[in-house]
């Protein structure tokens, strides 16, 4: 996993946010509120990772804002001693857009879930992504509705038996990464709650990215959807289940071959235009290592990233690419909105009150003595 942006001159996502006077610890970011998720919930791991990572970010605590919607994960802001708002269902990206646009000196984070972001708030998510507002969206995907006690979600596999679908759900699920890439997100990544190291590395890269950083976090709900990610967490199966994406490196996975590298890899599929999984080697039917697809997260064209995202199982998760799918530079909405205001101010300098008097006194006027 590399977090090197490799973009000379690229502005950081936190460039304009004041930095802390001295070293900070996770404790500095821990609020006095008792954490109230279910025992074993994947949210604890993400919270720990964020509290552990924020000190490394080195920003002033008062310049960080966490905004959430509704759902289990949306309690997140209460547990962080920063500014925060636990808002309404699905709307966190719109509220965060207002905060990020109004203030260049804030590091803005959205914490959301698969129901909050992809069902009731789907519209705000895709529009935040296309606008590229400078914020980081953490989508906790447990593939189930937890807070309402166990209905299927927009990422649940079709046919899922839940309280609201005793004969099986009929909905085809969203692939959040495909959706974000389709909305032309400038930073799109996926990570796992239980892999602290990977999670932290992705969070670092997401915070450093200027624009909307979208991070899907696979998160286990032990109460209503336990085991949804077992294949990628289980030591026996995860080598074949996780397709690691590292910028600049050939995409290989699976149990190691004689060379010590994954026996499987990705190549372009010239027939479909997508990518497919092959066995690496020199035997008939195998593909040589140098023909493997080299991951290019910085490719301005999102097509390959999208093709890779399609390797995610839509049913039970036996296979999923993990890592940073895409990270490209694109002007952000908020920077440009502030620039327009600044340009307009520069073009019409002066005291606001005097300008107001001139504005309301303009046009065809007449004076009555």
């Amino acid at each position: 996993m590399t977090t090197d942006l490799n973009f000379p001159g690229l502005r950081s996502g936190v460039e304009l946010v004041p930095t802390a006077d001295g070293p900070q610890t996770g404790k500095d970011f821990t609020s006095d509120q008792e954490v109230r998720w279910c025992p074993g919930c994947g949210d604890y791991a993400v919270l720990k990772a964020v509290q552990g990572f924020l000190p490394d970010l080195g920003l002033r605590r008062e310049n960080i804002v966490f905004v959430s919607g509704i759902g289990c994960s949306s309690r997140f802001p209460y547990y962080l001693d920063t500014y925060g708002m636990h808002s309404i269902h699905g709307r966190a990206p719109s509220i965060a857009t207002g905060i990020a646009t109004a203030r260049e000196d804030l590091s803005v984070w959205v914490v959301t879930g698969d129901g909050d972001a992809l069902s009731i708030g789907g519209n705000h998510l895709i529009h935040a992504l296309r606008r590229n507002v400078n914020m980081t969206i953490l989508l906790f995907n447990n593939r189930i509705y937890g807070l309402t006690k166990g209905q299927y979600s927009p990422t649940s596999e079709a046919g899922k038996i839940t309280k609201s679908t005793p004969m099986g759900s009929l909905d085809h699920p969203f692939n959040p990464v495909s959706l974000a890439l389709g909305a032309e997100g400038s930073f799109v990544a996926r990570t796992i709650d239980s892999d602290r190291k990977h999670l932290t590395a992705v969070l670092s890269a997401a915070a450093a990215h200027r624009g909307t950083s979208f991070v899907e976090i696979y998160q286990n709900c032990p109460i209503f959807n336990d085991g949804a990610f077992d294949a990628i967490k289980n030591n026996d199966t995860k080598a074949d289940a996780i397709i690691p994406l590292v910028h600049g490196e050939p995409i290989r996975f699976g149990a190691p071959d004689a060379s010590g590298q994954g026996a499987k890899g990705l190549v372009r599929d010239t027939e479909t235009g997508g990518v497919r999984v092959v066995e690496v080697g020199s035997e008939p039917g195998q593909v040589s290592a140098d023909a493997l697809l080299v991951h290019d997260a910085h490719n301005p064209d999102p097509s390959t990233a999208f093709a890779i995202s399609r390797l995610t199982d839509s049913g039970y998760l036996n296979q999923s690419p993990i890592g940073i799918f895409r990270q490209v530079e694109r002007p952000t909405y908020d920077d440009q909105a502030r620039a327009q205001v600044a340009d307009a101010k520069a073009a019409a300098p002066g005291d606001r009150a005097e300008k107001l008097a001139a504005l309301i006194g303009a046009g065809d006027t007449w004076t009555v003595a």
């Binding site: 008062e62 636990h86 309404i88 207002g98 519209n123 529009h127 300008k355 006027t365 007449w366 004076t367």
Partner: protein, 651 residues
């Protein structure tokens, strides 16, 4: 401007003119220019634009008719007038659609050119009514009809510019404007200057429009068709500098003023909707005032972003109409719960659902009052005239910022597009608003030792004793980090609380905070000149004009009536109950089925009587006068005759 020799000049104290044509005929522009000319001339005036929701409804049809009515006078007037004295009809549909509104003897100027068989059929005429002029069965016999080939003469007047026939004919509205400008002695310079600017980049179109405008003027001056020129003297007005202004423009300026007077940047989150979009358009031009405009993906995102901006320390504003309020309801509830300043502007239109997008109504009062889940009180402010939208917006900003609350500003389609002369306020006369951001911890920890131990904690729900407002601590303020949200908060420290007693206390406290605003309101102005009135008429919003004009009629006829108009709908001013109790009868004219009536009856147990119309148009002064007269007859036990001694309809 000189009155020409050889023509008779007649003095008028007032006139109501309606320009009507196809939506593509430029009637709004024509009316607007005539209005500007009259404003600069110094008449008092009120306008009523009326146009279809379709951008280009099928040409020549009744639904496609667009009109602009202007009432100008040499004295103070309050409404755009009940019935036009002059109708300019650019096609058969415009004639047919407006004929029913004309009183006997009204003047009709028609463009004969468009009275073709096809256009007549589209308007539903079997025979050309112009062919029957003067006949015994003349359907227009009750009117003074002036058939003029406006289009033909326009094409002739602009032929030197080499335009296509279609483009040439499009200047006909300027010909009509020129003719009317001559008839009423309007100054022509403002319109020529306007046309030069508007078409600066297309010389031939600019020249053709100016030529058509002048040709229309000259036609009036030379033709024998028009023998009378009318003069309406300037109206006496309070000293000051004036301009003509629409409600939406005044409201936009008021929002900018709210930012200037509070020292806050303004953040508008909005989704386009008729009839509110002009406010978004206008504010987007004024970024130099520190105004940010965000055209959101939907109504909810518009208010969401505004709430976010308020949390971040800006003056968050969202503008919409009734359907948008319905969509924003949950977010407005969040602003009630988080107690953040927020301006919610509802430019009301006909409802329910999509309703009548371009027509006016005031049927969102109860939605503003109660349209949220739970006990979610918020202050409501309403402007009473186009120019008053400026002051109302500033007042809404004062309340929102001072009391940390969303405020609903209820304008309507009539105010939004209608215009009137507006005395431009002096900046020094505007109120200043103190955002009073929290900068320091405000609470001493429970375990702190000693009386003078310093506050080291920040409690986001520790309230100001006078206003009950909570502190507004914006991100970036060290030591005041806190979390707010839609869940119930414990009074004081603001942590999540499901405690029954706390919830009961917080519900009552949020209500008490809104009620407390009444302490900051001036006493109501009761207009009861004789002091003998037994009937009080009370209204809110844009009905101010027709109610005021109706009251004047009643008084002219020798009867007593008192009038009160409410700017604040929630909370009501403190003295309202006492004022209502002073009168035997209370009349509440509204463009809804009795929403203010319902609130007054509920709060004051007063037997309020409604006068209600929901026609998508302003109330008519004569109808309001009749309703007042009926109540006076009941209150005083005598018949009421409003026709005497009034000689003619007044404003």
């Amino acid at each position: 401007m000189s009155i020409q020799q050889g023509k008779q000049v007649k003095q008028l104290d007032r006139v109501i003119i309606r320009f009507a044509g196809d939506s593509g005929d430029g009637m709004q522009l024509t009316g607007d220019r005539f209005t500007q000319e009259s404003a600069v001339f110094g008449n008092d005036l009120v306008t009523l634009p009326n146009f279809p929701a379709e951008i280009r409804a099928p040409q020549g049809t009744l639904p496609g008719v667009s009109s602009f009515q202007v009432h100008l006078a040499d004295h103070d007037i309050l409404t755009a007038g009940d019935a036009p004295d002059v109708l300019v009809a650019m096609n058969p549909a415009a004639l047919k659609a407006n004929l029913g509104d004309l009183p006997k003897g009204a003047t009709i100027i028609v463009d004969t050119h468009d009275f073709t068989a096809r256009n007549l059929a589209k308007a539903g005429y079997d025979t050309n009514p112009l062919d029957l002029l003067g006949d015994s069965n003349d359907p227009l016999g009750a009117f003074n009809v002036q058939p003029v080939d406006l289009t033909g003469m326009t094409v002739e007047a602009v032929k030197e510019f080499g335009l296509s026939r279609k483009d040439a004919a499009r200047a006909k509205n300027m010909f009509a404007l020129g003719l009317l400008s001559w008839m009423y002695g309007r100054p022509t310079e403002p319109t020529t200057t306007f046309l030069e600017k508007r078409f600066a980049k297309v010389a031939d179109i600019r020249d053709a429009n100016i030529a058509a405008f002048k040709a229309g003027w000259n036609y009036g001056e030379t033709t024998e068709t028009f023998v009378v020129q009318y003069e309406i003297k300037p109206a006496p007005m309070a000293p000051g500098t004036y301009r003509n202004i629409t409600g939406n423009l005044a409201l936009a300026y008021g929002l900018i003023a709210g930012g200037v007077q509070s020292g806050l940047p303004v953040f508008l989150g909005s989704y386009p909707i008729t009839p509110a979009s002009d406010i978004l358009h206008e504010l987007s031009k004024h970024k130099s005032f520190g105004v940010t405009t965000f055209q959101a993906e939907d109504e909810i995102a518009g208010v969401g972003a505004a709430i976010g901006a308020s949390f971040a320390g800006a003056l968050g504003v969202t503008t919409t109409s009734g359907p948008g309020i319905a969509l924003k309801s949950e977010a407005i509830g969040l602003a009630v719960m988080t107690e953040l300043p927020l301006l919610v502007v509802d430019v009301q239109r006909g409802g329910p659902s999509t309703g009548l997008p371009t027509k006016t109504e005031q049927a969102d009062l109860l939605q503003a009052m109660f349209g949220r889940n739970g006990e979610a009180p918020l202050p409501i402010v309403a402007p009473q005239s186009p120019g008053d939208c400026f002051d109302a917006a500033l007042e809404a900003a004062r309340i929102a910022i001072t009391y940390r609350t969303p405020v609903m500003l209820l304008s309507d389609g009539y105010l939004a597009n209608g215009s009137e002369p507006w005395r431009i306020p002096e900046l020094a006369d505007l109120p200043t608003i103190d955002p009073a951001f929290a900068t320091e911890p405000n609470h001493r920890p429970a375990n702190a030792q000693g009386e003078d131990a310093e506050a080291t904690e920040f409690w986001p729900y520790l309230r100001d004793e006078e206003t009950l407002a909570r502190p507004w601590a914006v991100p970036g303020t060290p030591g005041l980090e806190h979390r707010i949200g839609g869940l119930e908060k414990a009074e004081g420290h603001g942590n999540i609380s499901y405690d029954p007693a706390n919830h009961d206390y917080m519900v009552r406290t949020r209500q008490a905070k809104v009620d407390r605003i009444a302490e900051s309101l001036p006493p109501l102005v009761v207009d009861d000149p004789s002091g003998q009135a037994r009937v009080l008429v009370i209204g809110w919003g844009s009905t101010y004009g027709p109610i005021g004009a109706g009251v004047r009629r009643v008084r002219k006829a020798g009867y007593h009536v008192a009038q009160v108009h409410l700017r604040h709908l929630n909370p009501f001013p403190k003295d309202l109950g006492e004022i209502l109790a002073r009168y035997d009868k209370v009349l509440v004219p509204e463009m809804n089925l009795g929403q203010l009536s319902l609130l007054l009856r509920a709060k004051y147990l007063v037997d309020a009587v409604g006068y209600n119309q929901v026609r998508g148009l302003p109330l008519k002064a004569a109808d309001v006068a009749d309703a007042i007269g009926e109540l006076i007859a009941q209150a005083e036990g005598t018949p009421v005759d409003l026709t005497s001694p009034v000689e003619e309809a007044l404003s």
